[in-house]
């Protein structure tokens, strides 16, 4: 079985099986009556299962495979059954848009078009991005081939460019799929990324609809996101930005739900924050940002805000601590905090910001102008403000970090700024849809919680 299509079918089967198991387990996270959201969260849970069964099995001295995966799945399903199912409203009323069927159809077609475009871009050839070969894919291939990450992977000085200090959630996920597939197939494995894109779009649309956003507005938002090539392109396939985008959206929407007291929202927030911190170093930062946004959220009880803040930060700290225990302290190879105290720091900062302005923002001016128009057309809502704050904090960090880069501020901007910032797109899409919702009329009552929307 050396051709692409049999392997693709096998990977699709693995993803469907994991997603189905996740769907059942997601009953402990998502209240009844929200099938779309439960599918998206279930898929995310399925990915956790695929990544998580590998270290569990290896730690127990076993061989990762279908048997170990089934055992892990049974544990997860048993835990989800034992966890109290969050009580939620019965089947929520769906927005009805009489006379808008054509608009909805056009946006659905655009969403499908965006997914098909990404499928083609992602599956043209085996994953090839620089960071896939040197970091994410390489670690996954080592885990699969060596049954773990041997210490030489983080102690060999010549291999510092593989960033041993990065979390290993994504390599574990790649390896988990490979163990079930029975071989390392870095072409068929690329199917994971369009699947994550679909889960992101599903979560976005279903959450917005539950918040009372008209279906046409929610789908318009999803269509723009699906077609957003800076995120969904061949180059990002195999890297951490596509899964991070899903996790950032999951953090954002569960944060909004959590401050409103929606059943299960703290669990969802904790799960998303855990995944983000296990995926990328900035995942811990975003979890901290989510905790800060929760604490500063106005008009909600302190107890609820504090609960959301803890749900965001504690699992992320646990993930970061696990990584540190695994390898010991490792320096951030690309950055040096000492630049802050040096005389040329202002110049470094200026160079970084100037490079962002001239090489990233200026060429993207139509896109930015469009976003400004959309933001200006909308109305302020507390939910949108929370999501925008959550997106703004990492964006600010991405703009400041180049000043600390040992390879030069302009180097970091050119190699990473646009790519890493693109992962914030789903959060932005959700925030803009919420702002535009009052302008185009809400489709019905929010069923997010007893408190209703915080518009």
């Amino acid at each position: 079985m050396t051709g692409l299509f049999p392997s693709l079918a096998a990977v699709a089967g693995i993803l469907l099986a994991a997603g189905a198991l996740g769907f059942f387990a997601a009953g402990a996270l998502v209240p009844a009556g929200r099938p779309g959201e439960r599918v998206a969260w279930g898929f995310l849970l399925g990915l956790y299962l695929l990544a998580g069964f590998v270290p569990m099995t290896l730690a127990a001295g076993g061989r990762p495979g279908w048997l170990a995966f089934a055992a892990a799945a049974i544990l997860v399903l048993a835990a989800s059954r034992a966890a109290r199912r969050p009580a939620g409203p019965e089947a929520p009323p769906r927005g009805v848009e009489r006379g808008r069927a054509g608009v909805v159809l056009v946006f659905r077609a655009a969403v499908a078009g965006g997914v098909l475009l990404y499928l083609l871009r992602a599956l043209t050839e085996p994953m090839w991005a620089v960071d896939f070969l040197a970091i994410w894919g390489w670690k996954g291939k080592v885990i699969f081939g060596a049954r773990g990450l041997p210490p030489w992977t983080w102690t060999t000085p010549e291999l510092a460019f593989t960033h041993p200090e990065y979390p290993v959630g994504l390599p574990l996920l790649d390896a988990g799929i490979a163990f079930l597939l029975g071989r390392w197939d870095d072409h068929a494995l690329a199917l994971l990324y369009p699947a994550i894109q679909v889960a992101t779009l599903l979560l976005l649309v279903c959450w917005l609809e539950r918040r009372g956003v008209r279906r046409s507005v929610a789908l318009a938002s999803a269509a723009a996101l699906a077609l957003f090539e800076p995120l969904y392109r061949a180059f990002t396939t195999g890297m951490a930005e596509v899964p991070l985008a899903l996790l950032l959206l999951a953090i954002g929407v569960s944060l909004v739900d959590a401050v409103e007291g929606d059943p299960g929202a703290n669990r969802r927030l904790a799960l998303a924050a855990l995944g983000a911190a296990a995926l990328k170093n900035e995942g811990l930062f975003v979890a901290g940002a989510a905790a800060l946004v929760a604490l500063l959220w106005r008009g909600r009880p302190l107890r609820r805000r504090a609960g959301a803040a803890l749900a965001a930060i504690l699992p992320a700290l646990a993930a970061a601590a696990t990584q540190r225990l695994r390898t010991g302290p490792l320096p951030l190879r690309d950055f040096r905090a000492g630049f802050l105290l040096e005389p040329g720091f202002g110049g470094r900062m200026a160079l970084g910001l100037r490079t962002i302005a001239t090489e990233v923002l200026l060429p993207a001016w139509p896109l930015l102008a469009a976003l400004v128009l959309l933001a200006a057309a909308g109305r302020r809502t507390a939910d949108a403000r929370g999501l925008l704050a959550l997106a703004a904090l990492p964006l600010f960090a991405y703009a400041m970090l180049p000043a600390f880069c040992v390879w030069g501020p302009d180097w970091l901007v050119r190699t990473a700024f646009a790519r890493t910032s693109a992962a914030l797109a789903p959060l932005l899409a959700a925030a803009l849809a919420l702002r535009l919702s009052p302008v185009f009329g809400r489709s019905g009552e929010s069923t997010g919680s007893a408190a209703g929307p915080a518009a």
Partner: protein, 141 residues
């Protein structure tokens, strides 16, 4: 409210326009052709035709030839290539995983094989296999 809707519509059309500008039919056609042409080939041949080997396809062919000649249990591989770039380092590391592999290391650990891309026989090493684009050596005893 009507003016806000018009602004939103203008913004959305501009957004779609800027997103659509990134869609290049010629690129999509090229991708479709490559995917269809290569779908029946084995994985290594698909990588050989792909972007990661584009900087020097003969080099990937060499790496793959070396990989297939290495005995099981090989501790690691050092590769010597003329003027290696970042792409050489990344592809070499990835191709030999899960074995450790280094390009032009300052010191070659005991038990490692040495693969030389191009001509040349390093002192203190004896050839064990000739491969496409180079040769594989082990330390002379």
């Amino acid at each position: 409210m009507r003016s806000r809707r018009l602004v939103a519509l203008a913004g959305y059309l501009l957004l779609l326009f800027s997103l659509a500008a990134a869609i290049r039919p010629s690129e999509l056609a090229r991708r479709a052709r490559l995917a269809i042409r290569d779908s029946g080939k084995d994985l290594a041949r698909r990588r050989l035709d792909g972007s990661s080997a584009a900087f020097d396809r003969r080099y990937f062919f060499f790496l793959e030839s070396v990989r297939r000649r290495l005995p099981p249990g090989t501790a690691g591989v050092a590769v010597l290539a003329p003027s290696p770039t970042v792409a050489h380092h990344n592809l070499t590391l990835y191709a030999f995983a899960p074995r450790p592999a280094l390009v032009a290391p300052s010191r070659i650990p005991e038990g490692w094989f040495l693969a030389v891309y191009g001509a040349g026989a390093p002192d203190g090493w004896r050839p064990v296999a000739s491969v496409a684009g180079g040769a594989v050596f082990e330390r002379a005893r």
